[in-house]
Amino acid sequence: MRKLLLEGLLRRPLTEPAPETEDAALAALAAALERAARRRLGRSLSIREVDAGSCNGCELEIHALNNAFYDVERFGIRFVASPRHADVLLVTGPVTKNMREALARTYNAMPNPKWVVAAGDCALDGGCFAGSYAVVGGVSQVVPVDLHIPGCPPSPTALLKGLLALLESVGSARTHPSTGSG
C-alpha cells in the first residue's frame, strides 16, 4: 500500500491536461467551472442525486465524475446523502409512476434556494419510455427543472458542462420560483 501511495505522490495526477483534444477541452472546462463555483457559491455546491427509474446508465456516469480524471470535488461540488444538505437535485430517469411520490418528497425536503437538474434523454420527456402506462414522462412533470443535460447517458464531460451552465445561471436566476422564497 505504501508503494501505491508513494507512486500517487510522485506521479503526475491523472487530472493534468493531456495532449489529446478532448482532455484539453476538459481542462478548460474544469478551470471555467472552478471559477464559477468559487464566485457564486463560495466553493460549495451540494448535490442530492435521485434515480427516478433510470436504466442506471446515468448513475454510472455521475459516479465517474468522482473518479481521478474528472474529480468533481476539486471544484467544491459534492454529492450529499440527504436532501436536507443539498442545493441541487440531480434527477435521472423518465420518472416512473412508482417513483413520483419519492421524487416529490425529496424535492420538498430540500431547503431553499434550490435548483433541479434533469440528466439524460429520458429525464426530458420520458425518452424511449414515453407513453408507457408506468411512466410519468419527464422530471418537469413532477418538479420544476432548471436545466436539462441531454445524452443517453450524458458523458461525464457533458455533465460537467451542464453543472457549469447551472452555476453560470445561478446568479441571474433570482426570479426563479424555486429560489424566490429562500
Partner: protein, 493 residues
C-alpha cells in the same frame, strides 16, 4: 432420468421456436415439470406470462440444453410453481401484476411490481404488508427507495436485534418502466433500443441477447465478424464493470484508495470503448442481424495497448486487497450464500460461481465465438463477499485474455446480415457481467415484436441477498449488497 427432449414429447411441439424447443403442455405435465425443478433435476431459467398463457424456460445443466414449456390458461389461472419451488415466487407475482394471471396456491399473493399507482384514477399509495418479525427488542429500519448514495431505487426493510439483522425484506418495482408493453408491437430496431436500456451497465449483454433471440426467431445467422465484434464489446463491458465493482466493494469497507485506483482502470476501459465504438457503454452498437458499425481505425493496436496497461496495473491492486488484513476482516466470512441455495435458485454470474455453481452461459449453453476461444470459468464454494470479489478478479483476468484472443482472431467480412420479414419465436441466453441474461421473443407475421420477455440475472440473485444478510450486522449490509451488485432496473423492467 428424463431429458428435456423427453419432456418436449409430452406436449405439443411449437413450430418455429428456435434454437431450443418449446412445447405446450397440459396441467399434469406442467406439474410434473415443476416437481422435477423442485427436485433439482432441471433449473428454472425464467417464468413469464402473456394474455392467456404462462411459460417456463428450463435448463438441463449437465446436458447444456434449454427448453420452454407453456401452459394455456384461458381462465387466467394456473398451478403455482412457487408453492413447490420458491425461486419462482417473485416471477409469478410479477406475471400476476402484468398479465392478471393467478397462480393457484401461490404462497404470497401480495403484488410485486404494481404499487397501485399505474392508473391515473388510483394515485393513492397502497399499504404494503411487510412480513412480520416479532420478538423482544426487535425493531425495524426502513431504507429507500431514495438511498444515501448514487444508486438505483429500491426499498429494504430490516428487522434488527441490536446490530444483528434477523430479517431483510426487499421491495422492488420502483424502476418499473413497462418495457415489455412498449416492446409489444414495436419494430425490431426500436425493440432493440429498448432492450439496450433495460439495465445500463449491461447494455451490451442485453442488446446481444435480444439480437440473438431475434435472429433465432428469423432463422438468420449474423456474419462471423459481427459475432466477434459482439464478443469484444461484451468482454470490454465485463472488464469495466468488474473493475468498478472491485473498487466499490472496497469503498463500502472504508478503503477508498482501491476504489480510486479501480475507478481509473474502469475509466480507461470506457474511454477505449468510446474510441473504438463511439460510445462509452457501446450502447445501440449491437443490432439484430449484426452490429451497427465496425471498429474505428487503429482500434486493434489501441486495445492491445489497453490490455497491456491493465495487466500491469491490476495485479498491484489485487495484491493490495489480498494483503490488507483490515479489508479481509470485513470481506472474509461475511454475507455467505451456501452452495445448495445458489443451486436451487439457479443463481448465475459471480454470485453462483462464488457459491459452487459452475454455470457460465458462454460455456454451458454456448454461443459463437466463444466456442473458438480459450477461457477458464473460475469457481469457488465459500460463497462470502471475498469469494464474489475473487471470482470478479479471475474473470477480469480471463476477459483481458479474451480481448487479446478476439483481436488476434478477428475475421474480416461484412458486419450485418439482412433480416427477412417472417414470423417466428426465439430464445437466447447471453452471459453478461452479472450473469446470464435470458431473452425470449415472438415476432409476428408483420415483422414486429408480438411479445418479448427479458429476464435479468438479478431475479435469482436478489433473494439470495436476503439470505446472505441474515445474521450479519447492519453495517455490513452495504458491503454484502455491493458484492452482489444486483440490478434494480433490470429486475423491475
Amino acid at each position: 432420468m428424463p431429458g428435456l427432449s423427453d419432456l418436449m414429447l409430452e406436449g405439443s411441439r411449437v413450430q418455429g421456436h428456435r434454437p431450443a424447443p418449446r412445447a405446450v403442455v397440459d396441467p399434469a405435465v406442467w406439474n410434473f415439470t415443476v416437481g422435477k425443478i423442485a427436485e433439482g433435476h432441471w433449473t428454472l431459467l425464467g417464468l413469464w406470462g402473456e394474455a392467456a398463457a404462462v411459460h417456463m424456460a428450463l435448463l438441463d445443466e449437465d446436458a447444456g440444453e434449454t427448453a420452454v414449456v407453456s401452459l394455456d390458461c384461458p381462465d387466467g389461472r394456473y398451478p403455482s410453481v412457487a408453492q413447490r419451488h420458491p425461486p419462482a415466487l417473485r416471477l409469478e407475482r410479477a406475471a400476476r401484476d402484468l398479465f392478471g394471471l393467478t397462480p393457484r396456491g401461490l404462497p404470497d399473493m401480495r403484488p410485486w411490481l404494481d404499487h397501485g399507482r399505474w392508473a391515473e384514477s388510483d394515485p393513492a399509495s397502497q399499504p404494503y404488508d411487510f412480513l412480520p418479525a416479532e420478538g423482544e427488542g426487535l425493531h425495524q429500519v426502513a431504507v429507500g427507495p431514495v438511498h444515501a448514495g448514487i444508486i438505483e431505487p429500491g426499498h429494504f426493510r430490516f428487522t434488527v436485534s441490536g446490530e444483528t439483522v434477523v430479517r431483510l425484506e426487499q421491495r422492488f418495482g420502483y424502476a418499473h418502466k413497462g418495457v415489455e408493453s412498449l416492446m409489444a408491437g414495436a419494430a425490431l430496431t426500436q425493440a432493440a433500443r429498448l432492450a439496450g436500456r433495460v439495465s445500463g451497465d449491461s447494455t451490451v449483454a442485453y442488446a446481444f441477447a435480444f439480437a440473438r433471440a431475434a435472429e433465432a426467431a428469423l432463422g438468420v445467422e449474423p456474419p462471423e465478424r459481427a459475432q466477434w465484434l459482439r464478443a469484444l464489446m461484451a468482454e470490454l463491458e465485463r472488464l469495466a464493470n468488474h473493475f468498478g465493482d472491485f473498487g466499490a466493494v472496497r469503498n463500502d469497507a472504508a478503503f477508498p484508495l482501491l476504489h480510486a485506483h479501480a475507478a481509473v482502470l474502469r475509466e480507461r476501459v470506457l474511454r477505449a470503448a468510446d474510441a473504438c465504438f463511439g460510445h462509452r457503454f457501446m450502447r445501440d452498437r449491437i443490432v439484430p442481424g449484426g452490429v451497427a458499425s465496425d471498429m474505428a481505425a487503429g482500434s486493434t493496436d489501441m486495445l492491445h495497448g489497453l490490455v497491456a496497461d491493465l495487466r500491469q496495473r491490476f495485479p498491484k491492486l489485487v495484491e493490495l486487497y489480498d494483503k490488507t488484513a483490515s479489508l479481509q476482516d470485513r470481506t472474509v466470512g461475511t454475507g455467505i450464500v451456501k452452495p445448495p441455495l445458489a443451486r436451487q435458485y439457479g443463481a448465475g454470474g459471480f454470485v453462483g460461481r462464488a457459491s459452487g455453481r459452475p454455470f457460465d452461459a458462454r460455456r454451458t449453453v454456448g454461443y459463437p465465438p466463444y466456442d473458438a476461444l480459450r477461457f477458464d470459468v473460475p469457481v469457488l464454494d465459500r460463497g462470502d463477499v471475498d469469494a464474489r470479489v475473487w471470482i470478479r478478479i479471475r474473470e477480469a483476468e480471463q476477459s483481458m485474455s479474451l480481448v487479446e484472443q478476439i483481436l488476434r482472431g478477428m475475421p474480416g467480412g461484412p458486419i450485418a446480415a439482412d433480416l427477412p420479414s417472417r414470423a417466428g419465436e426465439g430464445m437466447a441466453l447471453v452471459e453478461g457481467f452479472r450473469g446470464d441474461v435470458l431473452a425470449w421473443i415472438r415476432i409476428g407475421g408483420d415483422g414486429k415484436v408480438a411479445r418479448c420477455h427479458l429476464r435479468d440475472p438479478s431475479w435469482f440473485q436478489w433473494p439470495l441477498v436476503e439470505a446472505a444478510v441474515e445474521g450479519n450486522i447492519v453495517a455490513d449490509f452495504p458491503l454484502c449488497n455491493k458484492s452482489f451488485n444486483c440490478s434494480y432496473s433490470g429486475h423491475d423492467l
